[in-house]
């Protein structure tokens, strides 16, 4: 569970008891907690029992890197945005305290530590805003550019930073016997705060959203996750305590200069610490920092620094990326879980349940009276256009989905059906055209806003969050957004129940604790359906629900769609399986060359000469007669 946001105690306990065969104290989680507690006590007591300055110095530096790596973990471990600019926040913290202390000699220096945290968070906010549109390697490049740019400013803005000559801080004014202790305990306190925040984020909706962003950002948006807000919060959270640690570090060094404070090697050491210990774990980055910093000291003291540090960091980075990509703690955990689960049959091949009717599982749905459904369009698309370079993928498509209907959308391959879906849910932004959902223009809105207004969509090639369990995948959907909502527990009891009902409905309840990546394609389709049902959407877009699954499952899929429709859900379905579409859908729209070429009932479409010519083919009726 290192990677997963916490579930509410009842489920955790149930899982734990199951995993440890009823001997709770030997379970990994308790073992881990005991080790962490012992390490924390040792850390706090150490400077009281010995006054060895060499090791105190080493621990102080390790604490700085532990805070930096834990901060990095939020944006890189949870949200998956690898940053090589994290060291800049340590430098910014150091410079904040250095500059402010020099200008305000009467103020106690410690007051500038929280200010440094604030400065770091504000800079992170700006960096976050600037880099919102970039991801993957482009993001790494931006962070490196950011670090060097800050360094260039520290060098050239001489009036504030004193340029390459650096800033000297006032010496500590306390007793020389305890010279290191205030720094030591201040950093320990900041680390505690950092870990508390990491722990809190991981068990909230925010943390779950960040992990969803890491796994598949576009998909996360379509199930209602507010990308910019969650990413910017993550950015600020990953910097605030690091800035404070940088301030204490600067004060401890009493001298700061651009080369030392903004060295790229600091960022590399932070990334290494996080990777070696285990990204997206609570304790991994701390463990990594306490492993790497002593190595760094040895390279500095016994091998002459400079080149030896380069070999150490460069070599370790290469080795870790190739041989230990997940880090120490996850490796230990998977070894333990391998021991627990070996010789047990996997569930992956188990038969998919037949499910029951949703109404029998929950009282949240009820059959709607057909005569009371208003006769109006739920979705109205007018003149949608999307060109990729010279290719007109969607070229003025218009269609209407009446409320309460199961509307079909058919057309030859490449006619623009999936692109049309992408435009409707803003996976791709349309060049032109209007989209009206339930009387409201949504074409200017982002994916998550459309999801919050009642739009749910499955993908042709399923897109589940591979590292999450089936249950987490379903609960990850966020039907509404509020800042307070982000702080709620990731999987509440009522949400878990609702998700289980939906999983039971689609027949996947037995698989709730499997990771999504272990499921077959057909199973993933079912889970994806449950996932978007969690949004309680008014309109459900299904992209080839019957593609690539077995005939029994196709029938079941049809039944489920009909049943959901009877509860008032409206559907728009793209499908190539003609008997499936024509048996289920009314009306049916036909797309050809990016435009709507025909619309009508299944009967009308079947007999439309243009449709037969462009798509169905002359043999269609002969084959249908044979069936």
């Amino acid at each position: 569970m290192t990677d997963s946001p916490a579930t509410e105690p009842e489920t955790t306990r149930a899982e734990a008891a199951d995993a440890g065969h009823g001997r709770p104290w030997t379970q990994p989680i308790w073992l881990g907690r005991a080790v962490a507690l012992a390490a924390a006590i040792a850390l706090l007591v150490y400077p009281l029992v010995t006054d060895d300055l060499y090791y105190q110095n080493m621990i102080i530096l390790s604490l700085v890197f532990a805070i930096g790596a834990s901060g990095l973990n939020i944006i890189s471990g949870f949200a998956g945005y690898i940053s090589l600019g994290q060291g800049a926040f340590i430098g910014l913290g150091g410079y904040t305290i250095g500059v402010l202390a020099a200008r305000n000699p009467d103020v106690t220096i410690w007051w500038w530590v929280p200010v440094a945290g604030l400065v770091a968070a504000l800079v992170a906010l700006v960096l976050g805003l600037v880099s919102l549109r970039s991801s993957g390697p482009a993001f790494v490049i931006i962070t490196v550019a950011f670090l060097f740019l800050v360094q260039v400013f520290a060098v050239n803005w001489v009036s504030v930073t004193n340029g390459t000559a650096g800033l000297t801080m006032p010496l500590p004014d306390w007793d020389r016997d305890i010279i290191n202790l205030p720094f030591y305990y201040a950093l320990a306190a900041v680390l505690a705060l950092q870990l508390l925040m990491t722990w809190w984020i991981r068990r909230t909706k925010l943390g779950m959203g960040l992990i969803a962003i890491r796994e598949d950002e576009t998909k996360a948006a379509t199930i209602g996750i507010n990308l910019p807000v969650e990413k910017i919060i993550a950015f600020m959270a990953s910097a605030v305590f690091v800035g404070m640690a940088g301030a204490v570090y600067g004060y401890y060094l009493t001298f700061i200069d651009p080369r030392g404070m903004f060295s790229i090697l600091i960022s590399v050491q932070l990334v290494l610490s996080m990777l070696i210990g285990g990204k997206a774990t609570l304790w991994g980055p701390v463990l990594g920092a306490f492993l790497i910093e002593p190595l760094n000291e040895i390279a500095n003291n016994s091998f002459g620094g400079g080149n030896a540090r380069l070999f150490l960091f460069g070599g370790l980075l290469v080795v870790v990326v190739i041989f230990l990509p997940r880090g120490i703690l996850p490796a230990i955990e998977s070894a333990l879980s391998w021991r627990r689960t070996r010789n047990k049959a996997g569930l992956v091949g188990a038969r998919i349940g037949t499910g029951g009717s949703l109404a029998s599982l929950t009282d949240r749905v009820q059959v709607v009276d057909r005569t009371e459904v208003p006769d109006r369009p739920l979705l109205e698309v007018t003149g949608l256009v999307k060109h990729f370079g010279g290719v007109k993928a969607v070229d003025g498509a218009s269609l209407v989905v009446p409320e309460g209907s199961i509307t079909g959308l058919i057309g030859p391959n490449g006619s623009g059906k999936t692109t049309l879906f992408n435009l409707i849910d803003d996976t791709i932004r349309a060049d032109a055209g209007e989209i009206v959902l339930d009387g409201e223009r949504i074409d200017g809105m982002r994916s998550w806003q459309r999801a919050h207004r009642g739009l749910g969509r499955t993908f042709q090639i399923t897109r589940l969050f591979r590292e999450m369990t089936v249950l987490e995948n379903v609960v990850a959907a966020q039907p509404s957004f509020s800042m307070r909502g982000l702080g709620k527990i990731a999987v509440s009891g009522s949400e878990a129940r609702a998700a289980e009902e939906l999983l039971e409905f689609v027949g996947m309840r037995d698989f709730r604790d499997q990771r999504a990546q272990a499921l077959s394609y057909g199973q993933q389709k079912l889970v994806e359906l449950a996932q978007i049902l969690m949004l309680d959407p008014k309109l459900i877009l299904l992209d080839e629900p019957a593609g690539g699954i077995n005939p029994v499952l196709i029938d079941r899929m049809g039944e489920m769609i009909r049943e959901l429709n009877s509860y008032g859900k409206t559907f728009l379905i793209v499908e190539h399986n003609m008997p499936f579409v024509l048996g289920l859908c009314d009306p049916v729209h036909v797309l050809g060359r990016g435009r709507t070429m025909a619309s009508g009932t299944a009967e009308e479409i079947k007999n439309d000469p243009a449709v037969i010519d462009a798509y169905l083919g002359e043999d269609f009726h002969i084959e249908e007669a044979r069936r």
Partner: protein, 294 residues
């Protein structure tokens, strides 16, 4: 006006050298979706090898390209086989970290071998200039720029006019289909990586004559090269050439008219601006993300 013309010509010549150095970076990205952060380190390595050939053996540094380039090609090939190929399927961010680690190791190795002092290659013509209607053009810059353009043309011909070039482009656009029609994509990838590194090597032999260098110069180089390929559009060779020329001009004019110390900020500012305004670069195309087979 003469100052302007001189900056223009020097900027263009510099752009040619940058284009050569950046072409390998964009080629490697285009074919294997790896951003090779060690590219600058390979460039500096080539400068050091050129230095040794000039200083110890006495070969003209610009002619030494014919030796330096194959040597760096071999190093690139070996690097691919040992370090890069094991993580081809890993996420892009991991390959960035891996090649970054590689750059650090190379920096350390160069420091061990050649020391961390500033090194300069100064052939006899280093201080000579051509004079053309009142503008001074340092000979080294002219020779370097012309050689860079010549090597680039060869590279372009190989990529567009030969079977190898077609195989490379096929492997770039769809590796599995390329394999199905009989292209050994693994060999093509190793070859592309080696060619890309060799291009950086040829560039490094030239820049070694133009600027003094230390092992740590690779940070500055990778910043420049990334700015160039990001500006031109990652993966596009034509984009890299265009980006390099614009970048050479921007840098020359900034140091002529603003100040050399702020010229170091140019690459970072460009990276920020491009990724903000037009993330796909000048000539890059945005790929559709929704329909990629899992």
């Amino acid at each position: 006006m003469t100052v302007f013309l001189q900056s223009l010509v020097l900027g263009l010549l510099l752009g040619g050298v940058y284009a050569l150095a950046a072409s390998g970076l964009t080629l490697i990205f285009g074919v294997m979706k790896v951003i090779n952060i060690a590219h600058g380190a390979f460039l500096v390595l080539a400068s050091f090898i050129t230095y040794t050939l000039w200083d110890v053996v006495g070969i003209d540094p610009l002619l030494a390209i014919v030796i330096t380039t194959p040597v760096v090609f071999a190093i690139g090939w070996a690097t691919y086989k040992v370090v890069v190929s094991p993580i081809r399927s890993a996420p892009m961010a991991s390959t960035v970290l891996l090649t970054f680690g590689l750059a650090l190791v190379l920096e350390g190795a160069m420091g061990e071998i050649w020391g961390n002092n500033s090194t300069a290659i100064r052939p006899a013509y280093a201080d000579e200039s051509f004079t053309l209607g009142g503008i001074f053009l340092p000979k080294a810059q002219v020779y370097g720029g012309l050689i860079a353009v010549a090597v680039l043309v060869v590279l372009w011909v190989v990529l567009t006019r030969t079977w190898l070039g077609r195989a490379i482009r096929a492997a770039a656009s769809n590796p599995s289909s390329a394999q199905l029609v009989g292209i050994r994509t693994a060999s093509v990838a190793a070859l592309v990586f080696a060619i890309g590194i060799a291009a950086a090597g040829a560039g490094g032999a030239i820049t070694g004559v133009l600027y003094p260098f230390v092992p740590g110069s690779h940070y500055q180089w990778i910043a420049r090269l990334l700015a160039i390929v990001v500006l031109g559009g990652l993966g596009s060779l034509n984009g890299a050439v265009l980006g390099a020329i614009l970048f050479g001009l921007a840098e020359t004019f900034t140091s002529t008219y603003v100040s050399p110390s702020w010229a170091t900020a140019v690459p970072y500012a460009i990276v920020f601006a491009v990724l903000l305004i037009r993330p796909q670069g000048l000539l890059g195309t945005r790929l559709r993300e929704d329909a990629v087979a899992a």
